[in-house]
C-alpha cells in the first residue's frame, strides 16, 4: 500500500498551478522517498539557507512572506522566531507540532504520510533560523504510519547528510528526535507538548514566560505546526514576494482545509487564503454540496474549538480576518458541515464531552466548568432539561471564558455560546418538548 489513507486531495487540480504548492506532489506515490523528493527540488532550500543565508536573513524572509501559524492561532511565524533571545547562552529547541488532534482536522497527516521530507526540511530551516541544534517532531501516538514514514525519511536524511554533523560542509550540526504522544488532546497545546517531551503529564504551563524565552528545559523553544513549517522551504525557494502574492493582504499564502461531515466530497483541499467558504462547500471541484440533497444547517469552520456559522454567514472568505468578523475563527482549517437534520443539542453534547474528557484539570474554571456544562447539556439531551438551564449554561460559559490558563477553556465554551445565541429556539424546544426539533438519523 503506497498511500495509507484513502483521503481525497485536490493535488491533481493543482498540478502545474504556479501558486498552490503544499499539495503539489501528494498524489505522487513515491514522493515520500528521498530520491523522488530530491528530483522535485527537495532540500534545495536547506542548501541555500546553510550556504548563503544568515539566520537573521531567514527570519526576515519568513517575516516578509506574511506566513502565519497554521496550528490554530495564526501567529506570524517569522515574528515568533525573532522572539528567541539572540544572546542567550542556553540551548535552543524547535518542536514541530504534529499532534493533529483538533477534531475535524486531518491535513498534517497527509503531509507527513505523503511528503515527509518537506516537513523535515521546513523544521531544519526553522531550527537554523533560531540557532537550534536539536529539534523534535512531536507526533500523536495513534499515527503509526506517519511515525513510520517520518522515521524512515529521517533515517534517509541522515544517511545522505541532510541532517547530522557538519551538514553540507557548512559546519552546522542538527539532530532530530521523533517524540510520540500517547493519546491526549492537551499535548497539541504548545506548553502541554513541552511538558510531554520533558516526561511530565501533558498539562498546560502558565505564560509568561512564553516558550520562545523559556520552553523545553527552560531553554528558548519554538513550537510550530506541521503545515506552517512545510511552507517554509517553498518560501525560501520562490521568495517572500511570491508567497505574498497569494492570499489576502493580512492572510498571505495558501491553507489546507479538511472538509468533513455532511458533504458530498469530503477531503483535504489546498486553496489560497481568502477563498470562498461557500465555494469550498458547493463547488463540484471541492465539497460538491450537502449530502443527500439536504439543506445546510451550520458550519464549524475551524475545528471544534471555533464558533458555529449559520447558513447566511457561509458566504465568507476563508482568511483570519474575515472569519473573525463573521463571529468565528479560521482555527486549524477543519471545516465541519452539518445538514438540516442535525440536532444542535446533540452536536454540542458531543463536543462538550470531548472537552471535559481532555481538560487537563490544572485550572478550576475549565476542570469544574466543563463537567457542569456536560451534566446540564446531557440532561437537556435526555429530555430532563429545566426552564432555567439555558441561563445556567450562559453563566457557566461566561465564567470560563477568558479565565483559564490555556485556550482549551475558551475553545470549549465558544461553540456553545454561538449556538445558544443563534439556535436558542432549538435549545428551548428541546427543553420544552423533551426531544429534538429535527428528526435525526445518522444510520450506518
Amino acid at each position: 500500500m503506497t498511500f495509507y489513507s484513502p483521503v481525497l486531495t485536490n493535488a491533481k487540480e493543482i498540478a502545474g498551478h504556479d501558486k498552490l504548492h503544499l499539495f503539489e506532489f501528494v498524489e505522487d506515490e513515491k514522493q515520500y522517498q528521498l530520491k523522488r523528493y530530491l528530483k522535485h527540488g527537495g532540500y534545495a532550500a536547506w542548501k541555500t539557507v546553510l550556504g548563503k543565508m544568515k539566520p537573521e536573513e531567514v527570519i526576515e524572509e519568513v517575516k516578509k512572506s506574511g506566513l502565519r501559524g497554521r496550528g490554530g492561532a495564526g501567529f506570524p511565524t517569522g515574528m515568533k522566531w525573532s522572539f528567541v533571545p539572540k544572546d542567550s547562552p542556553k540551548e535552543r529547541y524547535l518542536c514541530c507540532n504534529a499532534d493533529e488532534s483538533e477534531p475535524g482536522t486531518c491535513k498534517d497527516r497527509v503531509l507527513m504520510e505523503r511528503d515527509p521530507h518537506v516537513v523535515i526540511e521546513g523544521m531544519a530551516i526553522g531550527a537554523y533560523a533560531i540557532g537550534c541544534h536539536l529539534m523534535f517532531c512531536y507526533i500523536r501516538g495513534e499515527f503509526h504510519h506517519c511515525i513510520e514514514r517520518i522515521e524512515k525519511a529521517t533515517e534517509e536524511a541522515y544517511s545522505k547528510g541532510h541532517l547530522g554533523k557538519n551538514i553540507y560542509g557548512s559546519g552546522y550540526d542538527l539532530e532530530m528526535i521523533i517524540h510520540t504522544g500517547a493519546g491526549a488532546y492537551m499535548c497539541g497545546e504548545e506548553t502541554g507538548l513541552l511538558n510531554s517531551i520533558e516526561g511530565e503529564k501533558g498539562m498546560a504551563r502558565i505564560r509568561p514566560p512564553f516558550p520562545a524565552i523559556e520552553g523545553l528545559w527552560e531553554c528558548p523553544t519554538i513550537v510550530n505546526n506541521v503545515e506552517s513549517l512545510a511552507a517554509v522551504p517553498h518560501i525560501i525557494n520562490r521568495g517572500a514576494d511570491w508567497y505574498r502574492s497569494m492570499g489576502t493582504e493580512k492572510s498571505a499564502g495558501t491553507k489546507l482545509f479538511s472538509l468533513s461531515g455532511h458533504i458530498n466530497r469530503p477531503g483535504n483541499y489546498e486553496v489560497e487564503l481568502g477563498f470562498s467558504l461557500q465555494k469550498l462547500i458547493y463547488d463540484s471541484n471541492y465539497g460538491n454540496g450537502i449530502s443527500d440533497g439536504k439543506k445546510l444547517k451550520a458550519v464549524i469552520p475551524g475545528g471544534v474549538s471555533t464558533p458555529f456559522l449559520t447558513p447566511d454567514k457561509v458566504d465568507v472568505p476563508l482568511d483570519y480576518e474575515s472569519l473573525t468578523e463573521a463571529g468565528s475563527m479560521l482555527g486549524s482549517g477543519g471545516v465541519i458541515v452539518l445538514h438540516e437534520d442535525t440536532c444542535i443539542v446533540w452536536t454540542i453534547l458531543k463536543l462538550i464531552k470531548f472537552f471535559r474528557h481532555e481538560s487537563c484539570g490544572k485550572c478550576t474554571p475549565c476542570r469544574e466548568g466543563t463537567g457542569w456544562l456536560e451534566q446540564i447539556i446531557q440532561k437537556i439531551e435526555d429530555g430532563r432539561g429545566g426552564p432555567d438551564d439555558l441561563e445556567k449554561l450562559d453563566s457557566i460559559c461566561g465564567n470560563i471564558l477568558g479565565r483559564t490558563i490555556c485556550p482549551l477553556g475558551d475553545a470549549a465554551v465558544m461553540p456553545i455560546q454561538s449556538t445558544l445565541k443563534d439556535w436558542r429556539d432549538e435549545w428551548l424546544y428541546h427543553i420544552e418538548h423533551k426531544k429534538c426539533l429535527v428528526k435525526q438519523d445518522f444510520g450506518f
Binding site: R140, G183, K201, G202, K350, F444
Partner: protein, 158 residues
C-alpha cells in the same frame, strides 16, 4: 526482567538522544507497551532501572495518557472514533453494531480474548469518516458491509 533485551536496547538507544533523562519516559513507556500491550508497576520499575529515573515519576506521567493501559487487552484493539465528524456519519450506530456483533459493551473484551472495543476521540481521519483503528491500522470510509467483512477476516485469523 519482563522487558525483552531488544526492548531494553531500544530504550537505551532512544534515551541516549535526550538532553535530560526524564525525556526518555514517554518513549520508554511506548516501547514497553509495544512489546507487552500494557504497562504496570512492575514495568515502571524495570524502566526506572534502565533510564535511571525514579519509578514514581514514570508512574505519574503514565497515569495521564490513555495509551498506556495497566492491563493487557484483546488481541485486536478496536478503537472507534466517536467524535463529531465520524458521529455525523453514523459512528454511534457503528459502535452499537459492534457491541451487538461481539456481544460486549464498549470498554469490554470478548471472552476468547480476541477483541477489545473502545470508543475514542478524533483520530485525524475526519474526511474519511466513519473510521476505526484496529491495532496500528486505520480503516476508513467504513460502511456496514466493509465493517462486517473486516470483523469476519479478523475472526478467521487473517
Amino acid at each position: 526482567m519482563i522487558l525483552s533485551e531488544k526492548t531494553v536496547k531500544k530504550i537505551r538507544e532512544k534515551a541516549s538522544k535526550y538532553p535530560k533523562r526524564k525525556g526518555a519516559i514517554l518513549p520508554s513507556l511506548t516501547l514497553a507497551y509495544k512489546q507487552l500491550g500494557y504497562v504496570d508497576n512492575e514495568i515502571y520499575i524495570e524502566i526506572s532501572e534502565v533510564i535511571n529515573v525514579p519509578q514514581l515519576e514514570i508512574a505519574e506521567a503514565a497515569s495521564f495518557y490513555t495509551m498506556f493501559p495497566k492491563k493487557p487487552r484483546g488481541k485486536y484493539l478496536l478503537q472507534v472514533c466517536n467524535n463529531i465528524s465520524c458521529a455525523l456519519l453514523g459512528a454511534d450506530a457503528m459502535v452499537d453494531r459492534l457491541e451487538e456483533k461481539l456481544a460486549i459493551k464498549r470498554g469490554e473484551t470478548t471472552d476468547d480474548g480476541l477483541f477489545t472495543l473502545i470508543s475514542v476521540e478524533c483520530l485525524g481521519s475526519c474526511c474519511t469518516a466513519p473510521m476505526i483503528q484496529i491495532n496500528d491500522d486505520f480503516h476508513e470510509n467504513l460502511t456496514r458491509e466493509k465493517l462486517d467483512k473486516l470483523l469476519e477476516s479478523l475472526k478467521n485469523g487473517k
